[in-house]
């Protein structure tokens, strides 16, 4: 999967939970949850959504590594490689 395509999937998944998100406002190097209001349940649903769409296993032990949008993209890229 191309990087752009992956990014589009991640943003689309985020938007099913937080439709108000404006992609252009997101800074990939900042904690995502400082930029988008996501409570614990939203965050969990976001990660579950990624797992379902991309068929990638995201074990709970890895959640702590996923802070910024950049972290999420890098993590998924490695998993999909």
């Amino acid at each position: 999967m191309q990087e752009e395509e992956l990014r589009a999937v991640v943003i689309a998944t985020l938007k099913t939970i937080a439709p108000e998100v404006e992609e252009g406002d997101l800074r990939p190097d900042r904690p995502l949850r400082n930029q988008v209001d996501l409570d614990s349940m939203d965050w969990l649903n976001f990660l579950i959504g990624l797992h379902e769409k991309l068929k990638v296993d995201i074990p709970e032990a890895d959640y702590a590594k996923l802070v910024t949008l950049g972290d999420v993209l890098d993590y998924l890229k490695k998993k999909l490689a």
């Binding site: 938007k15 099913t16 937080a18 439709p19 209001d37 409570d39 614990s40 709970e60 702590a64």
Partner: protein
């Protein structure tokens, strides 16, 4: 798995002598006067929470003891009682220099950063009342609360100000000053605001505490009702007697404890037990600035050597879901007592604690209005998993039923009574038969009881029937005196331990041009108790579609924030209403759950 219905405690369960060893004897010997005598009081007379919580230790043997340890993403900052005293003096001087006085209201909107804690305690020193807001609130709940509370000052971060407050600032005429914390400790230069860091650096670290009295306003906590705007529950400095007594009995705090309350100070638990109670007992509190993460939480419990842990059912269920393997990467030899509050803790979660952490989890019960823990499972007492425990010393709890003639009056009846200048007085009778459902009531008069809802005397009076405060929770008491939560007596939604008023959510949805009517319910959820679910009908010319559903969801989230906005939205051709025009939320809920709708003509028309 079949498990016993009771967890018996033995001497082996108690690693330190418990503060509440003999329940019956402690209750018999208890008096609030004796507790009040254990407080220091202000040297010149009066009572101030910050003096009891900070100064008493800063001027004594615990001066260098760590009061708070703030854990950032990869950082750790310790603040001793001595330093906390100086920082809060600086903050009090900042308020004084801005002309903010006693009795005025300061609002706080931030994550769990040191400035929040300093602002709360510094405000107490200045006699200024504090109203903490949850940082995940959207602009509307923020504006509603600051307006209702006539906030004079807001302390927030640059990021939150720009995202949530700047656009509503012109709706807040009472707000004279906004004090900003810059990102990563940097200076800020946002128009019409002050850089808090700069003001703090310029302020003196010596301050004479404003002589507050026990009945002076200390905290304003907003809570949600079924109808209308949120209610501002007023609490006073004298509440500190309850914080002291419950820190001792319900949390079993001992001076050498490392204590971790995971609640955010935006909710009452995070203030009463995340700030005040642990400081009163001179212990070290861990504050995690990050969001929930199972791996991180276990690491904090282990590495910080947490001995007393106060958390919430939703968090426990999320840990359970993450699996025991993550927990077993660490060991917890320092942990000796675990308590939980926010919603009933299911028996599986109580047992999970015993099996995974080596300690059962002790549920307890209280609410914004009670100001402190009222009913609890305590270290030396047997636990009946699923029960909230027994009333603490100093607290009389009962199950009551409203008497026929004292029934909450219907709208017209009440309007008549109001015209006649009298409120119909509510009458209740006690339910003495064990295991019988009724409303949970508390005998009025404990020190942290709310003193009123700001500007809403009528709603306050409706909370009382004679000497009984009515909690709005339905419960049962068993033959051993243990209380069991049954449900809410009203339509208020309880999600992840927080009360959400359906009216506030419905109002925000109604502001969307496509929405004709909205009804909001709590839909049962394994993880968080209930999730907010909305039903809407559309105005002529609008068609139900997934795109519109997403648009409404985004609209609600932008206005309300993630914690208040619905998680699910369904379209209906029209919503069921009573003859008087009120949306029948209970019917919506019954249909959602596939329950019998019952005789709808008997549903209350009030």
């Amino acid at each position: 798995m079949d498990r016993p219905t009771i967890i018996r405690k033995t001497a082996a369960d108690l690693r330190v002598p418990p503060n509440l060893a003999d329940y019956a004897a402690a209750r018999a010997a208890f008096s609030w006067e004796a507790v009040q005598a254990e407080l220091a009081g202000l040297p010149g007379g009066g009572l101030n929470i910050a003096y009891e919580a900070v100064e008493r230790h800063a001027q004594g043997a615990r001066r260098d003891n760590v009061a708070f340890r703030f854990l950032g993403a990869n950082t750790s900052r310790d603040i001793s009682y001595g330093e906390l005293s100086r920082l809060t003096n600086r903050f009090a001087n900042v308020l004084k220099s801005l002309g903010v006085g006693k009795g005025e209201r300061l609002f706080i909107l931030s994550g769990r950063i040191p400035e929040l804690y300093v602002a709360v305690l510094g405000s107490f020193k200045n006699g200024t009342a504090v109203s903490p807001l949850f940082s995940a609130f959207g602009p509307e709940p923020i504006a509603t609360r600051i307006k209702l509370g006539e906030g004079a000052v807001l302390v927030t971060t640059e990021l939150l100000y720009e995202r949530k407050v700047a656009k509503i600032r012109d709706q807040l005429p009472t707000l004279r000053h906004v004090l900003l914390v810059g990102e990563d400790g940097q200076a800020t230069a946002v128009p019409d605001t002050f850089d808090l860091g700069k003001l703090m650096a310029e302020a003196s670290d010596i301050f004479d505490i404003v002589p507050t009295q026990a009945e002076d306003l200390s905290l304003l906590h907003f809570t949600s009702g079924t109808t209308g705007t949120p209610k501002g529950a007023m609490h006073v400095h004298g509440a500190v007697a309850t914080h002291w007594a419950t820190g001792k009995y319900a949390l079993d705090l001992h001076a050498e404890d490392i204590y971790w309350c995971t609640a955010d100070p935006g909710w009452v638990t995070g203030t009463s037990y995340g700030i005040i109670a642990p400081l009163l007992h001179g212990v070290t509190s861990i504050v995690d600035e990050a969001d929930f993460d199972a791996e991180r939480w276990y690491r904090i419990l282990a590495e910080q050597k947490v001995s007393v842990w106060y958390t919430a059912p939703t968090a426990i269920r999320m840990l359970m879901k993450a699996g025991a393997e993550i927990a077993r990467k660490h060991s917890y030899p320092s942990l000796r007592f675990v308590a939980s509050v926010g919603e009933p803790l299911n028996p599986e979660a109580v047992w999970w604690g015993k099996e995974v952490l080596g300690l059962p989890i002790h549920d307890n019960w209280w609410q914004t209005e009670t100001g402190g823990i009222m009913i609890a499972n305590t270290p030396a007492a047997d636990i009946k998993p699923g029960s909230m425990g027994r009333p603490l010393p100093g607290i009389e709890a009962a199950i009551v039923k409203k008497d026929a003639e004292g029934k909450r009056p219907g709208v017209s009846e009440e309007a008549n009574a109001r015209e006649a200048g009298v409120m119909p007085e509510l009458k209740v009778s006690l339910v003495d038969t064990a295991d019988t459902e009724g409303e949970l009531a508390l005998k009025a008069g404990w020190p942290s009881m709310l003193r009123g809802y700001l500007h809403n005397e009528e709603r306050y009076r409706k909370c009382f029937a004679g000497e009984w405060y009515l909690t709005g929770d339905l419960a049962k008491r068993d033959a051993d005196g243990y209380f069991w939560f049954v449900g809410r007596a009203d339509d208020v939604i309880k999600s992840a331990g927080h009360l959400i008023g359906p009216f506030e959510v419905e109002s925000a949805l109604m502001e969307h041009p496509a929405v004709a009517e909205a009804g909001v319910i709590g839909k049962p959820d394994e993880m968080v108790g209930e999730v907010v679910k909305a039903f809407v009908s559309l105005k002529k010319g609008f068609e139900a579609s997934d795109a519109l559903r997403m648009e409404l969801l985004g609209h609600a989230r932008k206005k309300l924030g993630a914690v208040v906005a619905p998680k699910e939205i369904d379209f209906l051709p029209s919503l069921p209403r009573t003859r008087s025009g009120k949306i029948m939320r209970r019917l919506l809920k019954a249909r959602e759950l596939g329950l019998p709708e019952g005789d709808t003509s008997t549903l209350e028309a009030g």
